[in-house]
């Protein structure tokens, strides 16, 4: 099951550039939360702070508190453990190109010490079913490579890979921006199903997509979170003029 995320006074830097400033919010468990804002506003940096990926850059720095469920990720846990609990899907699908479909999904499990073939088979099947890809690849699991799939299938393969390690939170950084409308629609349907089991945070430039899939939406601008509210409120009657100007296309 998903868990809630509590962010308190989060600040992030790239060298001297203060990219996130005093972010405070509570992301509810088992919901999809969308983050919107113009390019460079800090939304991608924000999600990378939720699984400690931001600090993998040597010039990057973070202060503040992020609690995933009861785990204070900057205090109580190692990055590897956090990334098992917090899966991530990126803008461009990035399957391991030479590995089979099966091995792509099983890669994270093997890294975490799973060796039992029977258990692996079960988890791979369950993950591919949960990512709505099973029916399309079940006959070619070990015959075809991840790279042989279409873009939309590759993205769902990456989602299956993220789900295989049984995370509580799924971060998605523009997961459908490189996909055609049919594949995008499949990813959105998937998000709808997955949020019953996982807490989903999705960064998107597509505001209609945010409106379709997320219950909560946060608007970022110049490293600050201007407004965080129900998606309905943000897209019909936002409280802050800057949010309204952005979503109505008056700037950005």
């Amino acid at each position: 099951m998903g868990v809630g995320i509590e962010v308190v006074n989060l600040n992030a830097w790239y060298a001297a550039n203060h990219t996130l400033q005093d972010i405070n919010l509570n992301i509810p468990a088992n919901h999809a939360t969308a983050l919107i804002g113009p390019s460079g506003c800090g939304k991608s940096t924000f999600v990378r702070c939720l699984n400690r990926m931001h600090e993998t850059n040597p010039i990057a720095r973070v202060t503040g508190t992020v609690r995933i469920g009861d785990l204070d990720i900057y205090k109580d846990a190692k990055p590897v453990e956090i990334r098992r609990r917090v899966g991530m899907v990126f803008q461009r699908p990035n399957p391991f190109p030479t590995m089979s479909i099966y091995d792509n999904v099983a890669a994270g499990l093997k890294l975490n010490g799973y060796g039992n073939r029977h258990v692996l088979d079960e988890i791979v099947e369950k993950s591919l079913k949960n990512s709505a890809l099973w029916e399309e690849v079940k006959d070619d699991l070990k015959k075809k490579s991840g790279a042989s799939l279409s873009g939309g299938q590759q993205q769902r393969l990456c989602i299956a890979r993220a789900l295989a390690v049984d995370p509580e939170v799924l971060l998605m950084d523009e997961p459908a921006s490189a996909l055609d409308p049919v594949s995008t629609s499949k990813i959105e349907d998937l998000i709808f199903q997955l949020k019953t089991q996982y807490t989903i945070v999705i960064v998107t430039h597509n505001m209609q997509q945010a409106a379709r899939v997320a219950e909560k939406t946060g608007f970022f601008l110049n490293g600050r979170m201007v407004e965080f509210d129900s998606t309905h409120k943000i897209f019909t009657n936002p409280s802050d003029k800057r949010t309204e100007d952005y979503i109505t296309g008056r700037f950005g």
């Binding site: 897209f235 019909t236 949010t243 309204e244 109505t248 296309g249």
Partner: protein, 230 residues
């Protein structure tokens, strides 16, 4: 400023709605004038403007639909387009009411003049004032003016109730005046509808500008919300 083309389309939509508003307001004023002076040539003008109003209604709805489909508007732009669609429908019905009044004036032509216990001109002035103020509120995005319109509706409703009471009494007690009384009653009813459409327009202006839905406040307060019950 980005989306310049979209902003221009919104301006065009507003301009077309104002043309429609001008026609509807003129139609109701002409219908009242036709009643006052019993002039059938004015009734012809009302009929002609109703055709123009109907054509504009379709054009405005089509333009609004195109913007919804092609531009996926959000927030205040979305509320504006929804309000335009609803105001458009209300203005078309104001045009219908004007035609209904002018039809009554036609049927009264052959009837003897009668001194009926109803002040149609006063009621018409108030209803037309509500239409004018609601459109002024739309032009200037003025929610204070829109709220003023909401407070005026009760007076027109009261006049219509009083007209119903006194005119049905005339029909019962002075049967030779029944046709005139029936016509006056139908005109009163149409003026009350015009006031209701002006109220709707004012409510739509408030929704567009403030995002607040003020419809049916009084009646909804009287019954519990079934969705809020456990």
């Amino acid at each position: 400023m980005t989306r310049i083309r979209f902003q221009r389309s919104l301006d065009d939509l507003k301009e077309n709605l104002l043309v429609m508003a001008g026609l509807a307001e003129q139609a109701i004023q002409r219908a009242i004038e036709a009643y006052r002076v019993r002039d059938l040539s004015i009734c012809d003008l009302v009929n002609r403007s109703e055709i123009a109003i109907n054509r504009l209604e379709r054009d405005i709805d089509q333009a609004a639909l195109d913007l919804l489909a092609m531009e996926q508007p959000m927030a205040i732009d979305l509320r504006f387009i929804l309000s335009v669609i609803k105001i458009n429908a209300d203005l078309e019905r104001v045009g219908d009411a004007a035609k209904a009044i002018s039809d009554r004036v036609r049927s009264m032509e052959q009837m003897a003049a009668a001194d009926l216990p109803v002040d149609i001109p006063r009621m018409a002035t108030l209803a037309a004032d509500m239409v004018r103020k609601s459109l002024q509120a739309f032009i200037e995005a003025d929610t204070t003016m829109a709220r003023t319109v909401l407070t005026m509706d009760d007076a027109v409703d009261a006049m219509n109730r009083s007209a119903y009471k006194s005119l049905t009494k005339v029909m019962a007690e002075e049967s030779h005046l029944a046709p005139q009384a029936l016509n006056a009653l139908m005109i009163s009813r149409n003026l009350e509808r015009v006031a209701d459409h002006a109220t709707n327009i004012a409510e739509d202006v408030i929704f567009w500008v403030e995002g607040e839905d003020v419809r049916h406040h009084k009646s909804l307060k009287m019954v519990p919300d079934p969705h809020a019950m456990g």
